[in-house]
């Protein structure tokens, strides 16, 4: 899915847990997520801490979108 959208010239950041799949399917900007059932959350945290964690991941994603890349890049 990432590739089809990226083809049109819109930058896509892929937030996903299984980075190797993302690399295999050809995403160019990749941000690792927490876990498959809750990529942008962690149920063991308090509501506030969990939202902070999510903010942090989205910040990373925005950083990826504003960074020029010339090949597949994982933003850890």
């Amino acid at each position: 899915m990432v590739k089809e959208i990226e083809k049109t010239g819109i930058p896509v950041v892929h937030i996903c847990t299984v980075v190797p799949i993302s690399l295999t399917v050809g995403a160019n900007r990749i941000v690792p997520a927490v876990a498959i059932p809750h990529p942008l959350g962690n149920p063991s945290l308090s509501f506030e801490d969990e939202k902070k964690l999510r903010e942090h991941i989205v910040e990373k994603a925005l950083e990826a979108l504003t960074t020029e890349v010339d090949s597949q890049t994982v933003f850890e």
Binding site: T17, V18, V19, P20, I21, T24, V25, P32, V34, A35, I36, P37
Partner: protein, 428 residues
């Protein structure tokens, strides 16, 4: 470790007032079985139905299938650490009731319980149409939470299988097979000229409804470890999971693991079968990395020349499969992987979510997206309410006349990734 496996062929199952095995006929008292199921007060009701091969019967939603077995003149019981007390199994003698299975059926927990047809085109896709199924149709107490429901049904199936298995304790088996794997150094010394082969056994462990248990331990928390193959024949590994029906390994599959059987068949002739490395399929990337690091490390440590790697489920477990394959190949150990495919209904799409050129030897259980039409049956065991929403079903899967159009994904065991079936797929 040496195990004698006595096979008792069951040709008929009769419900009556007594439970016993006489001349290949298994008599069961359904009231006894129902009370075993209802020992767990999370289950509201249960009834027992028999489905025979060739019957015009549809069973759904099917959760697990378990072959009844019991330990004979040995310490420990079947399914150790779960329904019998913790003890190392895999040696001594075990009796198995061949040709029948305990099948748990009932309202779905998740999305991924399956369909078993006892005749017609659907029956050709599932191994369970060829055995007599003793179906436990259960109804949970209202409002029971899904984890709890799954566990209650899983335990009920195991308790009944244990009870029925014990009926074979004093019966003379029709055939006795002997399997033996020795401690590492002795096993290496026994066939020093043959290539040392291991089996990397991937267990689905992605959390609620996707779990597998090893001696009662939730396998998502294990670090890959080594088992004697015969331990698995005594129920060391059992299924607590509801991945898509087609490629979930039921407890029946674990007990009768075909890779272990085939490697034993070549043991001492073409290969030296050293043992089983079990590993998991988790939801965290770090866990995937750790587990595949360990399978490759253990394969190296055992001095293996080659391994077969089997998968359970699909999608991100394809990554676990490829990681295992890649890391083991990088240690100059040859691999064959066993998987299945999701190539789209027309078969024209890419089959796996992950791939690597080192995975150059692959066996497939077929394309799970292939669509099949299942004609209406005379009898239904379970309920049809869920056909449209189970994995492989779609809006309109169930037609008014009782015909069901689904992907074979919805059929229990159809594209098994242990290589249980004859089905494969090829470029056409």
């Amino acid at each position: 470790m040496k195990l004698e496996l006595g096979k008792i062929n069951i040709n008929q199952v009769v419900i009556g007032t007594e439970s016993k095995i006489v001349d290949g006929t298994l008599h069961i008292c359904d009231q006894d079985i129902i009370s075993i199921v209802l020992e767990d007060d999370r289950i509201a009701s249960c009834h027992v139905e028999i489905a025979n091969p060739g019957d015009k019967t549809r069973i759904t939603p099917v959760k697990d299938v378990i072959e009844p077995r019991c330990k004979v003149d040995s310490k420990g019981g079947i399914f150790p650490g779960v329904i019998n007390k913790m003890d190392t199994v895999g040696s001594g003698r075990t009796h198995a009731l061949k040709g029948c299975g305990i099948m748990t059926v009932g309202k779905i927990v998740g999305f991924q319980e399956g369909i078993v047809d006892m005749s017609g085109p659907g029956a050709e896709k599932t191994p369970f149409s060829k055995i007599i199924n003793i179906c436990l149709v259960v109804e949970p107490k209202e409002g029971l939470e899904p984890h709890s429901y799954e566990q209650a049904v899983r335990f009920a199936g195991l308790r009944v299988a244990d009870y029925v298995g014990k009926l074979g304790h004093d019966v003379e088996p029709d055939e006795v097979m002997t399997y033996e794997t020795k401690p590492l150094l002795e096993q290496i010394a026994e066939y020093p000229e043959l290539p040392k082969v291991g089996y990397v056994y991937m267990l689905q462990t992605q959390g609620l409804l996707h779990d597998t248990y090893v001696y009662g331990a939730d396998a998502k928390h294990i670090i890959p470890t080594i088992l004697y193959p015969t331990e698995i024949m005594d129920g060391a590994i059992l299924s607590g999971n509801c991945v898509s029906a087609c490629d979930k390994n039921t407890t029946y599959h674990h007990l009768n693991n075909p890779v272990i059987e085939e490697l034993y068949a070549k043991h001492g002739k073409e290969i030296n079968f050293m043992g089983v490395i079990i590993t998991n399929e988790t939801v965290y990337l770090a866990d995937k990395e750790r587990s595949s690091d360990w399978t490759s490390k253990l394969a190296e440590y055992l001095g293996l020349d080659g391994v077969i790697i089997t998968q359970e489920g699909f999608g991100n477990p394809d990554t676990d499969l490829i990681m295992n394959c890649k890391k083991i190949e990088q240690k100059d150990i040859k691999t064959v992987i066993v998987t299945d495919e999701y190539a789209g209904r027309d078969g024209a799409s890419q089959s796996l979510a992950d791939a690597d050129k080192l995975a150059d030897a692959c066996v497939t259980g077929g394309n799970a997206n292939e669509v099949i039409e299942l004609p209406a049956m005379d009898k239904l065991i379970g309920q049809l309410d869920y056909v449209d929403v189970i994995a492989g079903g779609f809006d309109g899967s169930l037609r008014e006349d009782g015909t069901i159009e689904v992907e074979i994904q919805a059929i229990t065991g159809a594209t098994n990734e242990l290589g249980f079936n004859h089905m494969s797929a090829k470029g056409n």
